[in-house]
Amino acid sequence: MRFEKYLNSLTISKMALKSLGKLFFVPQIFMLILSPLATYLEFASGSGYRICYLASYMILQVLCPFFSLWWPLLGFREHIEGGGREALLVYKKSILRELIEVFIFYVLHFLLLLLLYLLFLDFNYFPFLFIFLAQSFAFFVVSISLAFLLKSISVPFIVCLIYEIFFMGAKAPGLDFMNMLSSYPPEDLAGLFFPYVFIFVACLIILPLAHLRFRRL
């Protein structure tokens, strides 16, 4: 019975992703094709190993958190906004499980990407994995929460985009506490561990709370 429930939920996730049509491939194109390509071009233009390593880190930093929203928001947009919402809500009271499945599916993708970097270019970004995970999870939770609260998927996209633009390079004193992203690989990794665990746990708490608003008409 439990197994069946799980299978049903996986089927729903799969169909939601399928309903995206061509849009489904956008994160894959960016992450698995364009970002390795950019790295390759950097190499081809004669930059040194260290420069390429840093440039790729920056690209990852831009892409990884941002695309964590893509599949969950677009795949479940009908459940979040729009004219079919009311009917869907009657048959499906919660989409939390499906959202998390899709998020995990996404995480598998960037694990693959990191693996590719390691295998082909010997760029080891795995020490930063917990940072990427926490950032992606934070982006995912914040955008899903906003989507639940506002019944809109465009606002979360805009908010996350603005965040990326403003905090990527910002090192403004006083603001750095809310700055998750950085264009350089952080040096003091151990010191970042607790802040990022904190972000992760905070998001774990926020997600179910925001979900309480999901069913409001």
Binding site: N8, T11, I12, M15, K18, S19, L20, G21, E78, G82, G83, G84, R85, E86, A87, L88, L89, V90, Y91, K92, K93, R215, L217
Partner: protein, 274 residues
């Protein structure tokens, strides 16, 4: 079986349901009421979309199918894929989905559109796809909120015959503000006004409410009307203008309307307290 007792629901100060009670067995029920009378609110309460402030709803754990007042979605999918999605949500086993979807699309006469994108369907077709979605999986309680809105007369007739086809062993509620939608197809009619159930009865019993209360008077003679009355229509006959009036007190010198208006008159009498 569906038992609704003393349902109260208010939005801030505005009360949408005000002690609504009714008991429904098997059959087709017409939920008839003017706009803003609380029909949608009641349906949303039954299918658990909103919680009521007080009162109780017992539905014995039956499956519910629901067509919301506004339905339109998944424009990028084909109609068949949309139905597949609903079938999965309703946990219909994969092996039975195909047959069940065909059956429902057949019932709403959309079989030939199964491969079309939902975004390319006309308004009436989208409405019918909503009906198909509601009856998918053969639920024992089906709620249709204004199902005939946006349907042309032929499609309305087809909807009525669909109701007759699927009715066996089910509780079906059809909400509408158009009397002719429920006429000749519903077993019972529930009249709702300002969140209260003001009348429950068969078609005949509703029509009975207006018995002997319909009058034809010449235009300009409204001063003869006393008590509670409602001017339903203007009729011209033999070059003269008449008013078709429903009145709870006798109108002297007026002709009783020979053809009494049936359910519509009864509905108006219940609403206007005549």
């Amino acid at each position: 079986m569906l038992k609704i007792e003393k349902l109260h629901k208010s939005y801030k100060k505005n009360s949408a349901l005000d002690g609504f009670s009714c008991e429904l067995g098997r059959g087709i029920y017409g939920l008839l009421g003017p706009n803003g009378s609380g029909k949608t609110t009641m349906m949303r309460c039954i299918c658990g979309l909103i919680s009521c402030n007080s009162g109780s709803i017992e539905c014995g754990g039956d499956e519910i199918g629901y067509l919301p007042q506004q339905f339109g979605m998944m424009k990028a999918l084909t109609l068949y894929e949309m139905m597949e999605y609903f079938a999965t949500l309703k946990r219909i086993p994969k092996t039975e989905q195909g047959e069940e979807i065909e059956r429902c699309l057949e019932l709403v006469n959309l079989s030939d559109k199964a491969k079309s994108r939902v975004g390319s369907l006309s308004g009436g077709m989208v409405r019918r796809s909503g009906i198909a979605q509601a009856i998918l999986g053969d639920p024992s309680i089906i709620l249709f909120d204004e199902p005939t809105a946006g349907l042309d007369p032929e499609e309305r007739m087809r909807f009525k015959s669909l109701l007759k086809k699927i009715r066996d062993g089910k509780t079906i509620i059809v909400s509408t503000h158009i009397v002719s939608d429920v006429e000749a197809v519903c077993d019972s009619i529930i009249i709702i006004d300002r969140g209260r159930n003001i009348f429950t009865g068969s078609n005949g019993e509703v029509a009975e409410l207006a018995r002997g209360k319909a009058y034809l008077i010449e235009e300009g003679q409204e001063s003869r009307l006393i008590g509670n009355y409602y001017i339903k229509d203007r009729i011209s006959r033999d070059g003269k203008s008449y008013l078709y009036v429903l009145s709870d007190s006798p109108v002297h010198g007026a002709a009783r309307a020979e053809a009494e208006g049936g359910i519509e008159d009864g509905y108006l009498c219940a609403l206007k307290n005549i």
